[in-house]
Point group: C2
Chain length 288, copies 2
């Protein structure tokens, strides 16, 4: 994402806890900042991308945080996926100093970030959204204003509900088909052409069959997103039986030590439950 | 489907318990049969389309059943969605008389049936599949051989697992978004453009928002399909936690008296649990 901004002609100051990515970007024309505060100083836009709510809180509002450097009238944009409640509190704190804050999480994964094909869901002040639009369009092909502060995160969490449940549908469909002795390539072909089709099945189904668990999106990140979703649902007194089941299953993925693998590793939890290794399916085999 | 076969130049004898559809087809050139036996007599192919396993068993093997009329060498094709175990038993019974039997369930709904765009998943004798291929291609745009008797049904059941779970994902995502006060049209647009996209969300999501519960595919039929899926999974000693949850939720749909509505009525069960009517969402409203 930083590379795309450099390529588009923006001047960047960059900060990261580990140094290697910073040095890589400095080679390409960015300046290294010594702290989040330093990165925000003199910047029109300050963009954050961090793992979880506490990280964003600290980087935005901590000792050497963005709040100490950002000028009144500048815009801070958080592109992490974190709690919408945290976003609202940070927005309120920054507003006290005249700094605008947008929550702008993304979907589309590492490939989308490199190619600029991300979808960006934005919450916060509408004028700030308009001011930041051109910068965000460098990073995403679709930049949608969703409403007041936190609305970007709420939209992202809705998206993750659909991601998680259609992934479980893909895993259970393939496991059932494997145990029944069907040719999994044909099964994916048939399901993908009708009412059972999903992005998850089309993109991760073949990886599950090929036992390719390298991460496009890490299981531990989806687990975190589902946790936040259920925290918000708890505040809204909203029962979500499917999402709750998925959170439990992803906690099992993480407990298994597979959190750093791709979300498709969910299949292994179900295969474990069934004591059935899906890779044992013979292509075109007879049913058991 | 019968109309498409007539239009393709096939001679048809038709039987149905209620008379109106038969008379409609007779007007278009079909002959009325007095029983399944009569329909099968002198026919090269006998096609069944019935609600559940018991119906197919009776029509195939009962007193006035297909078995009493079908000539050795003729092919019986069951296009219902029923138990793969029943299909295998019927195939065995018919084989004793030299009659070939294919299980050939479909996806694509009423519209697919009218337009000939169904996907047809076929199990049974491969030679019989080849012999019946041209007839099936009149009814479906994709006709796939899946393996031995029962394999068509097993593929269809895999498909229904994916259908049901991606539908739940769509319902929970929209309910969460509604309760959070987001604009549901925008939420569908955003989710449909990324990793959370599914046929269910794109096609049934807008219907849920518009409170259009007219059936494309009836909830009671999906409930039946999930029951059969879990019966087969039971035989295979296969735990399917997501599919089991969906079956319970669809039993609640049927208990509520909504089985004759479209599967998207699943949303109402979740709205009931949450005591939140999704139609109360104001477009573009602030979060609660």
């Amino acid at each position: 994402m930083a590379k795309r901004l450099l390529d588009a002609g923006h001047m960047l100051k960059v900060y990261n806890r580990s140094r290697a990515p910073v040095e890589e970007l400095v080679k390409q024309g960015a300046r290294a900042a010594s702290s989040p505060k330093d990165a925000a100083e003199g910047s029109e836009y300050t963009i954050l991308m961090l793992p979880d709510s506490g990280d964003v809180w600290n980087v935005a509002l901590g000792e050497e945080g963005v709040v100490k450097g950002a000028a009144p009238g500048s815009i801070v944009i958080d592109m992490s996926t974190i709690s919408p409640l945290t976003e609202r509190r940070i927005a309120e704190e920054l507003a006290k100093r005249g700094v605008k804050y947008l929550d702008a999480p993304v979907t589309g994964g590492t490939i989308g970030a490199e190619k600029g094909t991300l979808v960006i869901m934005v919450g916060g002040d509408y004028e700030a959204f308009n001011a930041a639009y051109d910068v965000l369009r460098v990073l995403g092909q679709k930049v949608v204003y969703m409403g007041a502060s936190g609305s970007g995160q709420l939209t992202k969490l809705s998206n993750q509900i659909s991601v998680a449940l259609s992934l479980l549908g893909s895993c259970e469909a393939l496991l059932f088909a494997s145990k029944a002795g069907l040719d999994l390539g044909k099964v994916i072909e048939v399901i993908a052409s009708g009412a059972g089709s999903s992005w998850q099945l089309a993109n991760l189904g073949p990886k599950i069959v090929e036992r390719d668990f390298r991460p496009g999106f890490k299981a531990e990140h989806l687990s975190k997103d589902l946790r936040i979703t259920l925290e918000v649902a708890q505040e809204l007194s909203l029962p979500l039986p499917g999402t709750a089941l998925l959170h439990q299953l992803f906690k099992a993925v993480v407990a298994r030590g597979d959190g750093v693998l791709g979300t498709q590793v969910l299949s292994k939890i179900l295969e474990d439950l069934a004591r059935h290794d899906l890779s044992k399916t013979l292509s075109g085999a007879e049913k058991s």
